[in-house]
């Protein structure tokens, strides 16, 4: 039989037929029957460390072989056989016990060894089949780009999952069989004395003896002043290096492996995003995401994404927003209150930008119209939040949002706030004298800012209420206070505030009564902030907690109106860097709507001083900047 088989390939007309193996079973190493072996820590005790390998220890080295073989399963390999032919196929199984035979599926002979040179064009193309290559024929198995550990395996996976999508590389990939010249290795025509190091450079890719910087310096006198630590965190090299590395990679794996609801992130990581697959290609690959996001508010990502996509549909948008709000709210409740506060602060600090001012103004104008706007406010806030880059269109749309949604939001807010009051009130370092009408002016101004996605219902409510509160100054003593709270919704404090604001939300016009019940979240003993015109601008190098009043007393304003919810902080709208920085956001809750624009502090700029609000001796609240220990999870693009 062997002779037969050997003879058959000689004819160039036929490709290799199916080879029969003498010993049939030997060829099959069922991967499934090696369950524990590869995955166990067998390799751990391999005595294969760099020193000489004892040939007799078949265990560890054999294990490694089996490990390698297991990883090869499913990969395309080329098998070189004795007569020089190359068979390409998908590695299916191998027998590694005694002799080494392999089984390839969908295998084809690529190069016929019996015919030297180019494959004759009249060769009949054969259909790929399963081939068994017995060990005596086997010379070499060559796998291109074989991934040997699970990390690489993971990375390779996403590509296979998206079969429905035909991307360019896939399409062009299929044309690989295109006839191409056989590439031969380049050899210099004659030994060129000008390039003596050629051999050294390319032969040993891991041991190059050429340092470009040295060469540059000697040849041109150019000194390199590159210091890596200028651009990145200094690596602490030392005995703990290894542990740090392990820890870092563990964290990296954790982050990359964590569940995300952002479809883009999910796609990159190869996980199935929980979102339904209704996302068309456009939203998956080309639409710009309009909401500001950070990993903590994953639940909202999808909803916000939808919101962003459904920009045109105001109603649905509102509902989405509402949902996101409640989600966010619940999420906020769940997370640590202090963190929320900080994140809130962060949001506040990062959110406002000068550009917003105009929008805010516009918003305020709209709001000023009265309680009717109130209804629309909450929803408008949410959209604002979702799209960090507010544009006036959105503002307009916001005004047309569903009032029902808002109402439901408010209801939820109230519920949640009630439950969280104790928690939030304690956590707050600074309590805005919410009772005071204070917030609203500032709050209103922040209203549009509350477009920060993170802002939850409270924000909406607050902003709305704030605005209307301002308008109807007198009666709404409670309202304003509530409003501000709502605007600061973004943090847990917002929850507290939200509850406050939620109250009024329910009954826009009246309200005060309900407000009073919620006031407990606010710190009645909080001092008011006195504007200090001489305050220096704040530089974000120090710690974050606003425990230490910078000047006068800064209070954490849970009532921050429309403070941009930090939800969006991390969003890379340029605010990213300020993530770690503490930027106080100052806003004047009492300022008239028109004045508020200046209350917004540019998150990145040390405009602290300028932000001092205008004119009115109203308490100015500022949001403490984002606490450094707040872990930023997730990435926003």
């Amino acid at each position: 039989m062997n002779v037969q088989q050997a003879a058959a390939p000689r004819s160039s007309a036929n490709g290799f037929g199916r080879r029969r193996v003498d010993r049939e079973t030997g060829a099959r190493m069922d991967n499934r029957t090696h369950p524990g072996k590869p995955s166990s820590a067998n390799f751990g005790n391999s005595g294969l460390a760099n020193g000489s390998k004892i040939g007799g220890v078949a265990g560890p080295s054999h294990d490694r072989l089996i490990y390698v073989l297991t990883y090869l399963v499913g990969q395309r390999v080329e098998v070189l056989v004795k007569n020089g032919s190359i068979i390409s196929g998908i590695f299916h199984s191998a027998n590694a016990d005694k002799d080494f035979g392999v089984v390839l599926k969908m295998a084809q002979v690529i190069k016929d060894g019996s015919v030297k040179g180019q494959k004759p064009i009249n060769d009949i193309v054969k259909r790929p089949q399963t081939m068994i290559i017995p060990s005596r024929e086997l010379v070499q198995i060559f796998a291109k780009e074989a991934s040997l550990n699970s990390d690489e395996l993971m990375n390779g996976h996403p590509r296979e999952k998206r079969k429905d999508l035909l991307i360019d590389s896939v399409i062009s990939h299929s044309q690989q069989v295109e006839v191409e010249r056989e590439l031969g290795r380049w050899t210099p025509d004659e030994d060129d004395p000008a390039c003596p190091e050629l051999e050294n450079i390319f032969d040993r890719t891991w041991n190059r003896n050429w340092d470009q910087f040295e060469t540059n310096e000697t040849l041109f006198g150019v000194k390199s002043t590159f210091n890596e630590e200028l651009y990145t965190t200094k690596l602490e090299r030392g005995p703990q290096m290894r542990e740090l590395e392990i820890e870092a990679s563990r964290i990296a794996r954790e982050i990359e492996g964590e569940e995300t609801h952002d479809p883009h992130l999910a796609e990159e990581r190869g996980t199935n995003f929980h979102e339904n697959f209704d996302l068309d290609e456009e939203s998956r690959y080309s639409a710009v995401q309009r909401e500001v996001d950070d990993g903590r508010y994953e639940e909202n990502e999808s909803s916000l994404l939808d919101a962003g996509n459904a920009e045109a549909s105001g109603g649905s948008f509102g509902s989405v927003v509402g949902r996101s709000y409640s989600d966010v709210l619940s999420k906020k409740i769940n997370s640590e209150a202090s963190k929320k506060v900080n994140s809130e602060a962060q949001a506040l600090s990062t959110f406002p930008s000068v550009d917003e001012d105009s929008q805010i103004l516009a918003d305020k104008d709209g709001h000023v119209s009265g309680s009717t706007d109130y209804a629309s406010q909450p929803t408008s806030n949410s959209p604002a939040e979702s799209s960090f880059m507010d544009d006036n269109n959105r503002l307009d749309k916001k005004k047309t949002k569903d009032q029902d949604v808002e109402k439901s939001l408010l209801n939820e807010c109230i519920d949640r706030v009630a439950s969280e009051q104790a928690q939030t009130s304690k956590s707050e370092d600074v309590h805005p004298s919410v009772h005071v009408k204070g917030l609203p002016p500032g709050a209103t101004t922040y209203d549009p800012s509350s477009s920060v996605p993170g802002n939850k219902c409270p924000a909406d409510d607050s902003s709305d209420s704030a605005i209307s509160g301002k308008l109807s100054s007198a009666s709404e003593a409670a309202n304003p206070s509530l409003r501000p709270g709502s605007s600061t919704s973004s943090t847990s404090e917002c929850v507290g505030a939200g509850s406050v604001s939620c109250g009024p939300g329910l009954s826009p016009s009246s309200s005060v009564g309900s407000l009073t019940s919620e006031k407990s979240t606010l710190n009645p003993n909080a001092k008011e902030f006195k504007l200090n015109p001489n305050a220096k601008s704040f530089t974000p190098s120090t710690s974050l907690r606003p425990h230490t009043p910078v000047d006068g007393s800064f209070y954490y304003a849970s009532n921050m109106p429309a403070v941009p919810h930090m939800h969006g902080i991390p969003v890379g709208v340029g605010i990213g860097p300020s993530f770690g920085a503490q930027q106080p956001v100052v806003y004047n809750p009492q300022a008239a709507p028109m004045q508020s624009p200046q209350a917004y502090i540019h998150p990145n700029g040390p405009l602290y001083g300028q932000q001092m609000i205008l004119g009115q001796p109203r308490p100015v609240y500022y949001m403490p900047t984002y606490p450094p220990e707040m872990p930023y999870k997730g990435r926003n693009f």
């Binding site: 395309r76 969908m106 193309v125 699970s150 299929s174 041991n207």
Partner: protein, 180 residues
């Protein structure tokens, strides 16, 4: 050759190997299995992208080798976990993919015909019907796949296929002179 080289085949070593068949390559040893006499090498130094090339070579085909250096164990033993289900899934996916690609290949046709088919398939929907290339479900091109062999379909489609065929043939000729 086996016995003498038992000591040298230590894990992590970098060798330059020449085989009896004339191939030359360099790689870092991952493992050497005595019973089956297989040497597993890893080519490529940097962990770029999806890994490096892997070679499993039967040691008795090594004609000559030189030790270039010693390196660390290329396998990170702590990371060596095999996720069987995912590997099997990968295999299935690869098989599916290969089958899809195999559809392109005609059975029993010359490689010239296959080249023409591939060229046509870049711009036109084609599939094989035994040894006949069917374009746009109507136009058929049979052996020897010259413009004269184009038949069927509407005159417009027919013309178009003829033209494309001519162009592709010309291109193939330029690319691989002497073949066509």
């Amino acid at each position: 050759m086996d016995g003498a080289n038992g000591e040298e085949f230590a894990v992590g070593c970098i060798l330059a190997i020449e085989t009896t068949l004339g191939d030359e390559f360099e790689g870092q040893i991952i493992t050497y299995d005595r019973p089956s006499n297989i040497l597993v090498l890893q080519e490529g130094a940097t962990k770029a992208g999806t890994g490096r090339n892997l070679r499993l070579l039967k040691a008795n085909y090594i004609k000559d080798f030189t030790l270039l250096g010693r390196g660390e164990d290329p396998l990170d033993l702590k990371k060596c976990y095999v996720d069987l289900p995912s590997i099997q899934a990968r295999e299935e996916a690869a098989l599916r993919q290969a089958e899809v690609e195999a559809e392109r290949i005609g059975i029993g046709v010359t490689s010239e015909a296959q080249s023409i088919y591939d060229a046509l398939s870049k711009t036109l929907p084609v599939y094989w019907d035994k040894t006949v290339i069917v374009v746009m479900k109507e136009v058929r091109v049979c052996s020897p796949y010259l413009p004269e062999n184009v038949s069927g379909g509407t005159p417009a489609a027919n013309e178009r296929v003829k033209k494309v065929l001519e162009l592709e043939r010309k291109r193939l000729q330029v690319r691989s002179p002497g073949q066509f």
